[in-house]
């Protein structure tokens, strides 16, 4: 500072932060995760290319799990609510999230839709992400696990082309396996590719059309539900309860609702 008059000579200060740019999204995701976990709801982030068969897998899941679990879904698309309507018709209470130009969901978008959706009345809650193998991978939504739907027509080396997506996957559903007799595609080569990008590779072959593999998929869901079940003891949740808390939704720094 100037010793004559006290005026401040500006000083250049280095500030070390080493902080994730998505820290704001991660905070919102933790908030969602606490709610899902506390309510004993298995929340899954379902990702995959456009046309991979995400919605069809959920429709088949509704058929296979009928009477066993209560399912629910939010379904994100750039422009329509077609998928949510398909899921609704399949018996899965659903809500559409229309993202406009945004290519992915983020934790706050999911949080907002949960406020007017009876997600607590579900056992398994699917968050069907925007069809995109790039951007959705880096946004934590508060899910218990990431499931990537990869269809057999997409090429054996797809995991190598999109390593960021597949490294984030806890499970890969190889969809449309009923088409395999008509294609020169070897699922084992897909598994080899997955082993190069997923440290704990796990893939199930399924067909929404024939129902192939749905039993193994439901088995995986059951396995994932196990740690949550203890929380569903009678009295642990009030049936029909909504969020049960009131809070403002300030746009904290870094929640990243920008287009893109």
């Amino acid at each position: 500072m100037c010793t004559t008059c006290g005026c401040g000579d500006p000083e250049l200060v280095p500030v070390e932060l080493h902080e994730k740019i998505l820290a704001g999204n991660d905070r919102a995701a933790r908030h969602n995760r606490e709610h899902f976990t506390e309510a004993g709801v298995l929340a899954l982030n379902l990702m995959g290319s456009p046309g991979a068969g995400k919605t069809a897998v959920l429709e088949a899941t509704a058929r296979a799990a009928a009477g066993r679990w209560r399912l629910g879904a939010v379904s994100a698309d750039l422009a329509t609510d077609n998928d949510a309507r398909r899921l609704q018709a399949a018996g899965i209470p659903s809500r559409a999230i229309t993202t406009g130009q945004a290519c992915h969901l983020d934790a706050e978008l999911v949080h907002r839709v949960l406020h007017d959706f009876p997600w607590r009345e579900t056992d398994v809650f699917f968050i069907e992400n925007v069809g995109n193998l790039v951007c959705p991978a880096i946004y934590d939504l508060g899910q218990a696990a990431n499931v990537v739907v990869l269809s057999v027509t997409e090429g054996e080396d797809k995991p190598l082309k999109y390593p960021v997506m597949f490294k984030a996957a806890d499970l890969v559903l190889l969809a449309k396996c009923d088409l395999l007799p008509h294609l020169e595609v070897d699922p084992e080569r897909i598994e080899d590719a997955l082993a190069q990008v997923m440290p704990r590779p796990r893939m199930l072959r399924v067909s929404a059309r024939t129902g192939e593999g749905m039993d193994r998929w439901l088995g995986w869901l059951e396995e994932m539900r196990a740690p949550l079940l203890a929380r569903r003891r009678p009295g642990a949740i009030a049936p029909g309860a909504s969020w049960g808390h009131v809070h403002a939704h300030p746009r904290g720094p870094g929640t990243g609702h920008g287009r893109g």
Partner: protein
Amino acid sequence: MHEYSLVQALVERVEAEARARRATAVHRVVVSVGELSGVDPELFRTAYETFRDGTVCRDAPLELRRVEAVWRCPACQRAIQRGAALSCPACARPAELAPGSGEILLETLEMEVP
């Protein structure tokens, strides 16, 4: 193309830091981009150049540091060769990503403080 929303998050974070420290200007922003962060460094730079006008970052050039992805064994720290399966050749443990490989981090800012 999520680079724009990432830049928006970055600029909001820098603005918050500048406010907290009553900084009058920001002169440098250092960001590290991991190879497996899902972020294209050049797109990120383009987004930053487009977005920073009229923000606290207007006079702050962006320094990008690229971090090569390294998968390694969590026990013996042995790096996994590129193109190999992601488990340790010695003990078969699932590999882990080395810090920075899969992240995009705001590392350092340089600010003018009165």
